[in-house]
Structure formats: structure tokens, C-alpha cells
Amino acid sequence: MKKNNLRQSFPRFLPLIFGVGISGLLLTSCSSELGITKRPDVTVNYLSQPSPETLNLLLSQYRSAVRNNDDNPIPGLHADYAILLIKAGKNEEAKKQFNEEIKLFPESQKYVEFLKNTLQK
């Protein structure tokens, strides 16, 4: 009797709402991560394949990038600039750039030292 009273005092479809609600919440939280997203900005790294024809252009692009690399430095930028400088025969300047890379990012020391020793031979 008491059980029947209890049943009547609440809507019979409450469990159904509960179940659907929980599932809905879970699905919503999932789709927010995997559903429609804004189109991200398209970014392309143009500075990839060095060739003799484009070496000067690349050097000037890197020179400018390196000058603006103080506030939030990009890892590896000075090392790559140094490689271009070596290709252009500017070994002393390259050495400075390699050292700058190590100064900014001490974790780069081993590979930068390797590049410095190998390429400047």
C-alpha cells in the first residue's frame, strides 16, 4: 500500500527522463569536443627546402625572423639560420647563431654542438 502511494506521488516516467537526461548530457559533452569547430587559421612553413637560387631570400627571411625572436623565441630558429649561413660560407656568423640557440635553449646543446662540429669542418 505504502509502495503504491509512493509510486503515485511521483511521475511514473521520471526514470525515463533521468535516463534520457544523463545520456543527453554525456552526448553533449562529447560533441562539444568532437563536433563542429571553428576553422583554424591556415599556417604554412614556407622555409623548407633550401636551394642555391633561394638561399639569399631564405637568409633575409631568417635574418628578419631571428631579429624578432627575443620576446617569445621560437626553438630551433637560430640553429636553422646558422645552417643557412654555413651554406652561404659565413661560418663565423653561423657559430654565433649556434651559440645563441644554446643560450636560449640549453636542452638543444647536444644536437647543436653536433651540427656546429659537423657542418663547420
Binding site: L6, F10, G19, T43, V44, L47, S48, D80, E107, F114
Partner: protein
């Protein structure tokens, strides 16, 4: 027993019939099986959080895409153009990996330095390096490189409505040779062809084609690649050089196999797909 003394648990037990319980179970099971079992980054990227790689080398992309036959005079020109397009698109894919990873706070060894290091180790084929544990771990001892990112482009598939590409990313620890992250991605770009057979081009593609001075067809592929790279890599745990380093473990991670679709206007939709579907579409059809 007074009904008001019943606690919440008893209330639900009393009011739930078997049918309703079964319905709730079905809904929850449906949620799990429909692929929305979102993992937290702490679980999905456990290896990355444990190893905390700082310095990453991006190996040259392994290109397994089929090229078209250029031995027949009749189709040589057209097929050569297609092959060039695939070559260039795949090169852009590789180049598009550096920036998202760098922005995420990793020390990514840049292109020229990476090329010189790989040259010094006589690595001409990334697939060989991936399967050669001895050489792979030597990158850690010799150069302090923590992890190497391998990418594979398996195939490009085209039909009149869309172009699809099948890609795999795999980050291997250079300290342990373990895979600490991997994901399979099907990228799909909706296209439309006009009555005269030319490709209809929307502003995002047109502006990219003009910016890079490439054909519209190539720009479609580059756009898709750039967006896949940005999307997939942005979900990795942030690196040592980012402010939130080691604080993003409770965020949601992407599944290990997904389909990234891009419609003509640039709207993106992403769904989880089973790896079997990826494999079937990529290798069987």
C-alpha cells in the same frame, strides 16, 4: 515505514520498472558504442605525461600513396600533373607539422637541422628508422632528442563529391622506443565540379592558392592537410615551454581514430570512426 523517510536510492529502486531500467541501459550502451567514450588526456596520452618529452624531431613523412601510371603517352601529361600535385601536397603536410607542435610548447628541431641530423645518421627512409630500435634510441643518447614523430600518408582517394586522405601520426620515445602517442585520421574535403568539368573553388581555397601561388586543386589538398595537422596536434598535452605544462590532464582527448571533414565553405565536422573502417576504406577500396 513513512515514504518521506525513503532516501533517493530507495525511491529510484521502487519506481524503476525492468523496462525502464533496460531502456536506460540501452541508452548508456548506445552512448558507449556510438563512439563518444571520451577519454581524458591523462589516460590517452599517459606515455607523454610520464616521459615529458621536450625535444622532438619530425621524421620525413612516409609516403605510401599510389601514383598514377605515366608510361602511356595518352594519359602521361594528366597523370604527371596529378603525381606532382600529390608530391607537393605531401611535402606541405610535413612542413605543416612544425608550427602547431612549436606553438604547443615543444622544442621542435626545425627542418634544416633535422635534415642534417638524419643525413648524419644515414636515415633516408623514415620507415626503417621507425622499426630500428637501436638507431632510434641513439637519437636520445647522441643528440638529447626525447621523441621522434613519424607520419605516414597511406592514400589519397577521390570521388566526384569529395577527396579523402588517410594519415597516421606516431610519436615514439627516443629513450625507450615506446609509442607514446598515435592517431589514425581520415581527412575528407568536400568538392564540387561545375558543368564544364572545372573545380568550383570557394574563398578559403582561392585565397590559399593565391597566397602560395599553387593550383586550386593543390590548394584543396594543402588546406585539408593544414587543418588536420592543426586539429590533431593541438590536442596533445602542452609541452615544457608552454604556460600550462602538465596542467591539462583532465581535458578531453581525441579518440585514436577519427574522420575530419571539411565542407566547401570551410565548416569542420569531426567524428570518431572505428579503426576497421579506416583500414577497409584505406586499403581495400
Amino acid at each position: 515505514m513513512n515514504p518521506t523517510h525513503l532516501n533517493c536510492r530507495n525511491y529510484f529502486i521502487l519506481t524503476l520498472s525492468w523496462k525502464k531500467l533496460f531502456l536506460i541501459f540501452l541508452l548508456l550502451a548506445g552512448y558507449v558504442f556510438c563512439g563518444c567514450d571520451t577519454q581524458k588526456k591523462a589516460v590517452r596520452y599517459k606515455g607523454i605525461y610520464e616521459e615529458k618529452p621536450a625535444v622532438i624531431l619530425v621524421a620525413n613523412t612516409i609516403d605510401k600513396c599510389q601514383r598514377k601510371d605515366v608510361s602511356q603517352e595518352k594519359t602521361k601529361k594528366k597523370n604527371s600533373l596529378y603525381n606532382d600535385e600529390i608530391n607537393q601536397a605531401n611535402t606541405y603536410f610535413h612542413q605543416g607539422i612544425y608550427l602547431p607542435l612549436t606553438h604547443l610548447g615543444y622544442y621542435v628541431i626545425q627542418d634544416f637541422s633535422a635534415t642534417e641530423i638524419l643525413k648524419a645518421k644515414n636515415v633516408t627512409n623514415s620507415e626503417n628508422l621507425k622499426n630500428d630500435s637501436l638507431t632510434l634510441v641513439s637519437f636520445s643518447s647522441l643528440y638529447d632528442i626525447d621523441a621522434i614523430l613519424f607520419t605516414t600518408i597511406f592514400a589519397w582517394k577521390e570521388n566526384p563529391e569529395n577527396w579523402s586522405v588517410y594519415v597516421h601520426y606516431q610519436l615514439k620515445s627516443a629513450r625507450t622506443n615506446n609509442t607514446i602517442f598515435q592517431i589514425w585520421v581520415k581527412g575528407k574535403k568536400e568538392i564540387s565540379i561545375s558543368s564544364n568539368g572545372a573545380l568550383n573553388v570557394q574563398p578559403p581555397v582561392r585565397s590559399l592558392a593565391s597566397k602560395l601561388n599553387v593550383s586550386n586543386e593543390l590548394a584543396q589538398r594543402i588546406l585539408l592537410f593544414n587543418q588536420i595537422n592543426n586539429y590533431v596536434l593541438a590536442n596533445l598535452p602542452v609541452g615544457k615551454f608552454a604556460k600550462d605544462f602538465d596542467k591539462d590532464q583532465n581535458k578531453n582527448a581525441y579518440p585514436d581514430c577519427l574522420e575530419y571533414s571539411l565542407d566547401e565553405l570551410g565548416t569542420v565536422s569531426v567524428i570518431k570512426i572505428p579503426l576497421e573502417k579506416f583500414e577497409q576504406e584505406c586499403f581495400l577500396f
